[in-house]
Symmetry: C2
Subunit: 301 residues, 2 copies
């Protein structure tokens, strides 16, 4: 299977490329830089790349993914996340691509209220510019199927972490603070709000779901990718601290609290499981250990 | 009330400006050309205009609205309809605008299936690039309210016609063909598919609903603007032909049939009526007569 991955140098992208390669696929890894450089907002470049490589399946991961940043640069996020998706869909259509996976986010549900876990038909109440662009991209992908017959499959990925995630995201940030506290002999680490509850997944499970969804899912459908379990930031921090090699206190820093945040995101992956038999393989414990080990290796450099 | 209208030179825009002026509002009529020229895709220009005029209410109508055209230039439609909306929302936020109306379309429902009339919670199954951009813009507007507290009100306008609509749209096109047949002594007019069913409204009722919706509606809410009655293209054509001054046959031209079209769009405006007491004032008959009279005046030039 000839697969083209956009955003291949990103966190999930690198894991996906590894997984596809391992599964025997022939992988074209596209990103802004590198050998197969394609800037997703450059319509002609995307068309040329798809025409040249003639992929059978496209995994469209290229996106600006930081919720907090999206408040400061909504236009840039819109260009990459929405116009970039349009470019991918049009180019896939032109190149006769068989199936396209468009990666969305649990953030699309936003303030979906109090009924958890969230099923795919829950209302979409995007709270951040990032979330709104992901909803927009999802509807472009649905339209490409309904209107033009391009077989798009959409996923809404819930939070995921694992080796290789930048410490601009919560769990690697906490892991780094712990690793540095261990190294430097500090007695505490800082954290923002302890309250938000998230459905935390291992990136390696997530990318496995991407491949199953695009190959075995229904065109036009959307699938949650999630564990079904919710953990508060406080619980995650405590679980990481329990693994620290020194005794560390958790100190709340008001500067780290986001002004607007979605209180809870817990998903129901029944639809994906029914379609593909996907099951997460990593426990939360195993994932946190992997992130912490990486942070320690980085801190030791 | 100081009101800024984007897309003020468009079909609905001109009717809205007239209605607001009549209602006593102080109107800033913005469009790409003209006195208060603002290109909606120029972020800085939009910000400057909002800062300069300090409107209390913004009616965001600027859009590329032709469903058929959107297949040929999806990127341009995305820029104007989605990025333009982002610019308006951001500028409104920065300028302290009290309320913003964001105009969507019945096309957002697309192939919503068989349950008519459509309520606002019907699934959105956009069929054309135009429809997908309208869904995207709607979610940006919802996000601006949920995430940033900007009081946006969204409407989904069903089909509307009336004096001043370009004959690139169905009813003025049929009226023009009738007026020219009357003038030139032809015995028939051509038409595409007779089957699509639409909820046809008078543009003057529609723009009245816009003002009521933004002033009296709930922030964050979306309202259908529609009559609740469906008419097939065949019925509309027959009603126009019944008003022709000569006997004309209706001849189907396969070249006029759109490859992909939404079979039926009939809406339920209960939510808007409950919030604002809006009622359509024009009968379909009165609207068709107005369009036909204008077509005859144009044909006589």
């Amino acid at each position: 299977m000839k697969a083209l991955v956009t955003g291949a140098s990103g966190f999930a992208g690198r894991h996906l490329v590894a997984h596809l390669t391992e599964a025997g696929d022939s992988v074209i890894a596209c990103d802004r830089a590198g050998v197969d450089a394609v800037d997703i907002v450059d319509r002609d470049a995307v068309h040329q790349a798809f025409a040249r490589f003639q992929p059978e399946v496209v995994y469209h991961l290229a996106a600006l993914t930081h919720v907090g940043d999206s408040w400061n640069e909504p236009q840039a996020v819109l260009r990459v996340n929405v116009e970039g998706t349009l470019n991918v869909l049009d180019a896939a259509q032109a190149a006769g691509v068989r199936r396209v996976l468009v990666v969305g986010s649990a953030e699309e549900y936003g303030r979906a209220g109090t009924e958890y876990p969230l099923r795919e038909d829950a209302p979409l109440l995007p709270n951040s510019p990032y979330a709104a662009t992901k909803v927009a991209a999802s509807y472009l992908a649905l339209q490409a199927y309904l209107g033009a017959g391009l077989e798009t499959v959409r996923v809404r990925a819930f939070n995921h972490t694992g080796p290789g995630q930048t410490d601009r995201f919560l769990i690697p940030a906490l892991a780094r603070r712990i690793a540095e506290a261990e190294r430097d002999g500090h007695d505490h680490i800082t954290v923002g709000s302890l309250d938000p509850v998230r459905d935390i997944n291992d990136v390696r499970d997530i990318v496995r779901a991407y491949r199953l969804a695009v190959l075995e899912g229904e065109p036009g459908a959307v699938y949650n990718v999630c564990s079904g379990a919710g953990h508060s930031v406080g619980e995650i921090a405590a679980a990481l601290l329990a693994r620290a090699r020194v005794r560390l206190r958790l100190v709340q820093d008001p500067n780290l609290v986001r002004p607007v945040d979605v209180p809870s995101l817990i998903g129901d992956a029944s639809r994906l499981r029914a379609a593909t038999k996907w099951q997460p393989a990593f426990t939360l414990e195993a994932t946190l250990v992997a992130v912490l080990d990486e942070a320690r290796a980085n801190a030791a450099r």
